[in-house]
């Protein structure tokens, strides 16, 4: 049973089992795993290892942090909030009523470029306080319907936006119904800046999630209009606004890609934005913002990664220094028997 009772067991093992005649040994078959004798590495976390680990982390993290921060600093971002400004002054008392009355709701904004922006310049719309991650909202879609025409009737999760006037809605669900419908067009000193709306969604969505044979049908036909209308002759795999909108965001403050401007913008350029303020975020005090941004290899303007890396690298460096000082001031010898509790308190049981 126990392998560490050395004498009798080892002699019996070594000498071709002569005691078999004397006693029938019931010892179970030996295996390194069952006897727990596997070769093992026994790491000891000495101060040397601790300090080396901290130094390694700081050496690796600080350059990465610097690179990430530079990438983020290179990105130029302009944010313009327009939801309150774009309502005429006399209608500001009842914004919801204004947004729900049909009619022409264009509004013109001027944006000044502060730093040179190299193309392509990405146009986003940012919504605040819009809970695309609400459970009922996230559930309200039918992926099988989006993918192929044959499952057009698979609308079980889409209530209440599943049938309208007895006909099935394609694409069904609240997510599609609430499609964002503000429009933006840009011009610089009278010259129109083209907005490229191709390639704004992830390729895997276009190719695998939204089918080429699915066409919108019976969409926004009900009494309540939630958002944009869809062109019924374009298949869903090419409706990139819908595809971008249907990738539900994680947080209540999110950005979605609207299009790309394929021109450079110089410092002090004034961009005129003609926007159609159609989307109703006023019922729930949401905010709408227009964002113009360049990108780097890391993405948009987000200092967080760079700052986090630098902070952690710096902290580890500081800890390495602290531990080295403590090690020199108050050393503890490795394997010092005077630290054993029975040696520290001799009379103690």
């Amino acid at each position: 049973m126990s392998s560490s009772t050395a004498p009798s067991s080892s002699v019996a093992a070594g000498s071709a089992d002569p005691s078999g005649a004397r006693r029938n040994s019931k010892r179970p078959k030996y295996s390194r795993f069952t006897q727990q004798e596997l070769p093992a590495c026994k790491p000891i976390l000495t101060p040397r290892w601790v300090i080396s680990a901290f130094m390694l982390v700081s050496i690796v993290f600080i350059p990465i942090g610097v690179a990430s921060l530079f990438a983020s600093r290179d990105v130029v971002e302009i944010i313009d909030r327009y939801d309150t400004e774009c309502i005429p002054v006399d209608a500001r008392n009842d914004k919801v009523k204004y947004i729900q009355t049909p009619g022409n709701k264009t509004c013109t904004r001027n944006i000044t470029v502060t730093k040179q922006m190299k193309r392509p310049i990405y146009v986003y719309y940012q919504l605040d306080n819009f809970y695309q991650n609400h459970r009922r909202y996230v559930k309200s879609r039918s992926d099988s319907q989006l993918r192929s025409n044959s499952s057009a009737n698979a609308v079980s999760d889409c209530k209440p936006e599943d049938y309208s006037n007895g006909q099935v809605i394609v694409p069904c669900g609240l997510i599609a119904w609430s499609l964002f419908n503000d429009t933006y067009s840009f011009s610089r000193s009278g010259q129109q800046l083209a907005v490229n709306k191709r390639g704004i969604s992830w390729k895997s969505d276009r190719e695998h999630k939204f089918g080429k044979d699915v066409f919108p049908r019976n969409f926004q036909n009900g009494t309540l209009i939630g958002g944009a209308r869809l062109n019924e002759s374009i298949p869903l795999s090419e409706q990139e606004d819908l595809i971008v909108w249907m990738r539900t965001a994680a947080l209540p403050t999110f950005r979605k890609l609207y299009g790309k401007i394929e021109e450079d913008l110089q410092v002090n350029d004034v961009i005129q934005v003609t926007l159609g303020n159609n989307y109703n975020t006023y019922s729930f005090s949401g905010k709408k913002k227009l964002v113009l941004s360049t990108t780097s290899w890391l993405g948009g303007k987000n200092d967080f990664l760079g700052i986090a890396y630098l902070t952690v690298g710096g902290l580890c460096f500081f800890l390495a220094m602290v531990f080295t000082i403590v090690y020199l001031v108050k050393p503890r010898q490795l394997g010092d028997p005077s630290y054993l509790s029975w040696n520290r308190n001799p009379g103690w049981q």
Partner: protein, 470 residues
């Protein structure tokens, strides 16, 4: 010399008074010894007949006090019932954990009365083994059972239980922080199959391997430093302080996982400016959780075998294989992992988040080992340069260095064993006359069957010793 005829009740009463007087004297003597600082070690010797009276409810407390003051107590000629009674007395009166070991049928009640019962299988038969919690083959294996395997089991159970709570707490709290930002609607942060398979596929095997194979010090060192056993008695690895430390670590890590991943996902994620959705963010977070939790297990291992590497690496690999296959099949997270892995952001987050999460635990381990080391850690350090001596080849080396005592006991154990015709039970009945009672001058009347039995035995003893016939 007082001889009583007939009146058993009166006899019992007198005996009880005698025993009470004796116990009182002994107790006072013991307490007197105890008052001197370096008093001698005391042993109480009591036999079955006396114990019959001493276990009376009125005297029991005094007996217990006296026994607890002594270093050891020898009860001889006790019946099975009395063995059980003494064990229960210590168990309930002294509130200690009791272990009893025995090999015969007469030990069964004692084995069952104690907290831990150990039976020795062998010549007396298997009754003790069948009634016990642990069965061993030889009495000397008891030290291995306690000091080596008992200690390892305690360590393993404590660590496995606290680790299990920690890993589930980390995982669940990440979802909890998400609920604050979904308008409290109850939207899950992770996909359902991720959640179901977390405990089954991605984090289960390493902790099983840990519970099977973890050793803080080797078997020979465990026996060389029996004081290490005190860590179990003191319950050092499962105090509220330890559990609170794990819980705090879980809360900290869950905050890191949730906030670091979601905060950095607001803007476009790669040079094409496209943004992430809910399932992209949660897949990144889940990857970080699985990797961190598995690496945390490696951090708390004292001895790492190749099975640890296989299970930890295998679990992380299983996660990646699973998610690569799953995102081709499942509708709502179609191709999510491929989208995520095509951005630099994923790799930077994958490096940053587990490191920050494990940083606190690493600091805590470093500080604890340096300034507040456990005993087993000091023992590990003292013997850090010695090679593993637990192989059979190593054991063969040791056998050449037996002391004279060890060689003698080894030789005796190799002799052919005699099977005794007298089992232990025959000598345990209280009808047998008490030696101590006879010292006091009190004799019990002999019973008829007892006289006959002893007469037959005496005749056997008087015959010359014949070679034993089987």
């Amino acid at each position: 010399m007082i001889i009583f005829h007939g009146d058993q009740v009166e006899l019992a009463r007198v005996m009880k008074e005698e025993v009470k007087k004796d116990l009182k004297n002994c107790l006072e003597e013991a307490q007197q010894y105890f008052r001197t600082v370096s008093g001698p070690k005391l042993t109480l010797v009591i036999d079955g007949k006396c114990l019959m009276y001493a276990l009376d409810p009125s005297l029991r407390v005094m007996l217990l006090n006296l026994s607890l003051n002594c270093t050891s107590v020898v009860c001889c000629r006790v019946s099975p019932l009395q063995k059980a009674q003494v064990t229960s007395l210590v168990k309930k009166g002294a509130r200690k954990i009791t272990l009893s070991i025995g090999d015969g049928a007469n030990d069964v009640s004692m084995i069952q009365a104690a907290h831990v019962g150990v039976g020795i299988s062998g010549l007396e038969g298997m009754q003790a083994v069948m009634a016990s919690d642990f069965a061993i083959a030889q009495f000397r294996f008891l030290s291995d059972l306690l000091l080596v395997h008992g200690r390892w089991s305690y360590l393993r159970i404590c660590k496995v239980v606290t680790y299990f709570f920690y890993k589930n707490l980390t995982f669940t709290l990440t979802q909890f922080w998400f609920t604050f930002q979904t308008g409290f609607s109850g939207q899950r942060f992770y996909d359902d199959w991720f959640q179901s398979l977390y405990n089954v596929m991605f984090t289960s095997l390493p902790v099983i391997i840990y519970g099977l194979l973890e050793k803080d010090v080797s078997a020979s060192l465990s026996k060389k430093y029996p004081q290490l056993y005190m860590e179990g008695i003191r319950n050092s690895f499962f105090r509220w302080r330890v559990v609170a430390a794990w819980a705090f670590s879980a809360i900290y890590q869950s905050l890191i996982f949730y906030h670091f991943v979601t905060t950095s996902s607001l803007t476009g994620q790669n040079s094409s400016g496209r943004t992430f959705g809910l399932w992209d963010v949660s897949t990144v977070a889940f990857t970080c959780v699985v990797v961190t939790v598995n690496l945390r297990l490696l951090m708390m291992c004292n001895s790492i075998t190749r099975w640890h590497y296989v299970s930890v690496g295998g679990s992380i690999l299983a996660w990646f294989v699973f998610v690569f296959v799953y995102s081709l099949i499942r509708e709502n997270i179609l191709y999510v992992i491929y989208v995520v892995m095509s951005t630099f952001y994923f790799y930077l987050a994958f490096l940053l988040v587990p490191t920050v999460a494990l940083l606190l635990d690493f600091i805590r381990q470093g500080v604890q080992r340096w300034f507040f080391p456990y005993d087993y850690q000091i023992v590990q350090e003292i013997h850090r340069h010695e090679p593993d001596d637990n192989t059979r080849a190593g054991a063969l080396e040791i056998s050449n260095h037996l002391t004279a005592d060890e060689a003698r006991s080894f030789a005796i154990s190799q002799l052919p064993r005699e099977t005794s015709r007298h089992t232990g039970f025959a000598f345990d009945s209280p009808g047998y006359e008490s030696f101590f009672a006879s010292q006091q001058g009190v004799y019990a009347p002999q019973k008829a069957w007892d006289v006959v039995r002893r007469a037959s035995m005496r005749s056997k003893l008087k015959a010359p010793p014949l070679p034993p016939k089987k």
